[in-house]
C-alpha cells in the first residue's frame, strides 16, 4: 500500500526547477503531484510520478541528488472537513506528520500524500479504520 515518492534536492538558483522538469519531460515521466519546500539555500522537490525508478535514474544521470521515499497516498472524501477528520485520527494515535501535500483527481475523492516517521503504524491505522490508499499500480492507472 506504500507508494514511491521521487525526491530531488535543488539549490535555490534560477532555472534549477526547470532543469528537473526538462529531464522528466525528455524521458516521458508524468507528474501526478508535487510539493516544493525550500529554505533560503536549497529546496526539496517531492514528486509523485508514473515511473519513479526511471525518473530517479535519469535525474541522477544529470547530476541531481535524488532518492525514492515510501509515502502513503490516502483517499479521503472530496468535501469540507474530511481532512480534519483524518488528521484527528492520526493525532489520536500520536502520529507526527513530517509533510503532506494534496493530489486531486476528478470525481468525489481526493488524495493526500503523507509522510510520517512511523509509516507502517499509519498504514495499520488506515487499514483498521477502513481508509483506502493508492498503491503504485493504482497511481499509474490514474495517469495512464
Amino acid at each position: 500500500m506504500m507508494a514511491k515518492q521521487l525526491s530531488v534536492f535543488i539549490e535555490n538558483r534560477q532555472g534549477r526547477l526547470h532543469e528537473v522538469l526538462s529531464v522528466l519531460k525528455k524521458n516521458d515521466v508524468n507528474i501526478l503531484s508535487l510539493s516544493l519546500a525550500d529554505t533560503t539555500e536549497y529546496g526539496l522537490l517531492r514528486l509523485i510520478v508514473n515511473n519513479p525508478e526511471k525518473g530517479k535514474e535519469k535525474l541522477a544521470e544529470d547530476g541531481f541528488s535524488t532518492m525514492l521515499t515510501d509515502v502513503l497516498v490516502v483517499k479521503i472524501a472530496h468535501k469540507v472537513g474530511s481532512l480534519q477528520v483524518f488528521l484527528d485520527l492520526l493525532s489520536q494515535n500520536s502520529i507526527s506528520i513530517e509533510y503532506m501535500y494534496g493530489l486531486s483527481v476528478d470525481g468525489d475523492d481526493a488524495y493526500v500524500v503523507l509522510k510520517a516517521s512511523n509509516l507502517d503504524k499509519v498504514a495499520k491505522i488506515l487499514v483498521d479504520n477502513g481508509i483506502d490508499t493508492l498503491s503504485d499500480e493504482q497511481l499509474f492507472g490514474i495517469c495512464k
Partner: protein
C-alpha cells in the same frame, strides 16, 4: 639500507658541519654575489656576524622574485665557465627561474638522491622507470643520476605515451617507478585498460613519487591500484634548491628526512617572517650550505610543513619534515585567522555524505569577512532535518578546526567545477571590492 654515514651523525656533529658550511657560504656569497651583498648591507649584517646557527635568522630571505629580478645568472656565485649544467623551472608566469650546477654540485645532487632512493627501498637490482619529463625540469635527471649511482638499471621513459610505458614495464620487468602520484595512478589505469592487472602482471614494488603533494588519501589509492605491498614514498625538492633530493621518506613513512649536511631548514610564520619553534607549522625556509653555483640563503619555499628533530626508527638522525600540507600562497586570512585550504579539505573529506570537491568563497560583508564553503552532496535524502543537521555538523567541525564560522552551501553532485591540473578552489572576492 642507509646510503651514507652522515645520515646517522649525532645532532652535535650535524650542527658542527652545518655551522662551518654556513659560515663559508655566507662569506662566499657576500664576496661574489652583488645582490646578496646589497641585501645584507641593507639589513646591516656582515658575514662576521654569523657565529652560531641561531644567527642564521639575522640574514635576509631570498624569494623566487629575487631569482626573476636577477634573471638568468645574477645570483650565481661562480663564473659561467665553471657551470656544467643549467636547468629551469616551468615558470607559469613570466620568465622561468634558472638554476646552474658545477661538476661538484652534480656530485652532491647525485649523493642526495642516492640517499633518498635508498630510503624508499631502492636497491642495485632494481629496474627503475623514470616517468618524469626529461628536459629543463630537474625531476627526471635528478632521480636518474641518483638511481644510476646506486646501481639500479635506468629506463628513462619520460612522460607520455602511457601504453608504451606499460609495455616497457611488462617487457623489462620494471620494479621501481618514478612519477608524480597522479601519473602513477594514471599508469595503473592504462594498464587495466590494456587488460593487465598491475598487481599481478607487473613487477612494480617501489614507487618514488614527488613534485606533487602526496596526501594520505592518494597513498591509499596507490595501494589500491598497485597492491598493498607497494612501497610508496614521497620525496621533496625544488630546482631553486637543487632539484629532488632535499628530503625523502624512509619506509617508516613518518616524515621526510632532510639532507641536513647540505641544507638547513627553518620554519617561519609566513606573515611576519619570524622563526617558529620546533613542531609548529609554517613556511619552510631552506639554506643551501654546500652548493657552488647557486647557494640560496634562506630561500622561501612557500611550502607549509613542520619539523621533527627526533631520530627516526630507521636509524637516521636527520630532521624530518611532515608531508606538505599546502602552500603559503594559498593561505587566506579570514577575520584575522590564517586559513589553509587543506584544513577545509580535511573537514570536507571527513564527511561521507559529501563528495571530495569543494569551493571556498571569501567575501566582504560590511566590515567583516564572510566565509562560504560550497560542497556537493554524495548521499541523497528526503529530509530537511538531515540536510540541516549535515550543514550544522560541517559548520561545527569547521569552527573546531579553524575557529571560524562558515556558511555551508550544499549543492547537487557534479555542480562544482572539475580540474585536470592544479585545482582552483578558492574565490577571494574581497580584493575586487
Amino acid at each position: 639500507m642507509i646510503w651514507s654515514k652522515e645520515e646517522t651523525l649525532s645532532r652535535k656533529e650535524i650542527e658542527e658541519i652545518q655551522l662551518s658550511r654556513l659560515i663559508e657560504t655566507v662569506n662566499r656569497v657576500y664576496e661574489k654575489v652583488k645582490p646578496y651583498r646589497e641585501k645584507m648591507d641593507a639589513a646591516g649584517i656582515k658575514p662576521d656576524d654569523i657565529k652560531s646557527l641561531s644567527d642564521l635568522s639575522k640574514l635576509p630571505f631570498v624569494t623566487k622574485q629575487d631569482l626573476r629580478d636577477n634573471y638568468p645568472f645574477g645570483l650565481f656565485a661562480v663564473p659561467k665557465d665553471d657551470l656544467v649544467r643549467i636547468h629551469a623551472s616551468s615558470g607559469t608566469t613570466g620568465k622561468p627561474t634558472v638554476v646552474g650546477y658545477t661538476q661538484k654540485d652534480l656530485e652532491v645532487w647525485t649523493e642526495c638522491v642516492s640517499r633518498i632512493a635508498c630510503m624508499g627501498g631502492a636497491q642495485k637490482d632494481d629496474i627503475a622507470q623514470i616517468c618524469f619529463g626529461y628536459g629543463m625540469f630537474t625531476g627526471a635527471l635528478g632521480l636518474h643520476y641518483g638511481l644510476e649511482n646506486i646501481g639500479a638499471t635506468i629506463v628513462p621513459s619520460s612522460t607520455g605515451n602511457s601504453e608504451k610505458q606499460i609495455m616497457f614495464m611488462k617487457d623489462f620487468g620494471t620494479t621501481l617507478l618514478v612519477a608524480t602520484p597522479s601519473y602513477a595512478l594514471r599508469l595503473a589505469e592504462v594498464a587495466r585498460e590494456m587488460g593487465y592487472d598491475p598487481i599481478k602482471d607487473l613487477k612494480v614494488k617501489i614507487a618514488l613519487v614527488g613534485s606533487e603533494m602526496l596526501t594520505d588519501a592518494m597513498r591509499e589509492e596507490m595501494y589500491k591500484y598497485w597492491g598493498n605491498d607497494l612501497k610508496v614514498t614521497s620525496n621533496y625538492g625544488m630546482s631553486e634548491l637543487m632539484g629532488p633530493g632535499v628530503s625523502g621518506e624512509c619506509l617508516y613513512m613518518d616524515g621526510l628526512h632532510i639532507n641536513e649536511d647540505y641544507f638547513i631548514p627553518e620554519i617561519i610564520n609566513p606573515e611576519t617572517g619570524e622563526v617558529l619553534p620546533e613542531g609548529e607549522k609554517g613556511e619552510l625556509v631552506v639554506t643551501c650550505i654546500k652548493k657552488d653555483a647557486l647557494p640560496l640563503i634562506r630561500y622561501r619555499t612557500k611550502d607549509i610543513t613542520r619539523l621533527n628533530y627526533q631520530p627516526c626508527k630507521c636509524g637516521r638522525t636527520f630532521c624530518r619534515m611532515e608531508n606538505l600540507s599546502g602552500r603559503s600562497d594559498d593561505m587566506l586570512k579570514i577575520r584575522g585567522v590564517n586559513v589553509f585550504p587543506s584544513q577545509i579539505e580535511e573537514v570536507v573529506l571527513s564527511f561521507n555524505e559529501l563528495g571530495p570537491h569543494y569551493e571556498i568563497i571569501v567575501e566582504r560583508e560590511g566590515y567583516s569577512d564572510l566565509l562560504t564553503i560550497r560542497v556537493e552532496l554524495a548521499k541523497s535524502t528526503d529530509s530537511f532535518g538531515e540536510l540541516e543537521q549535515l550543514s550544522k555538523n560541517i559548520r561545527a567541525k569547521i569552527r573546531t578546526v579553524l575557529g571560524l564560522d562558515a556558511k555551508i552551501k550544499l549543492e547537487s553532485p557534479n555542480t562544482l567545477q572539475r580540474f585536470e591540473g592544479k585545482a582552483k578552489r578558492i574565490k577571494d572576492l574581497r580584493s575586487s571590492k
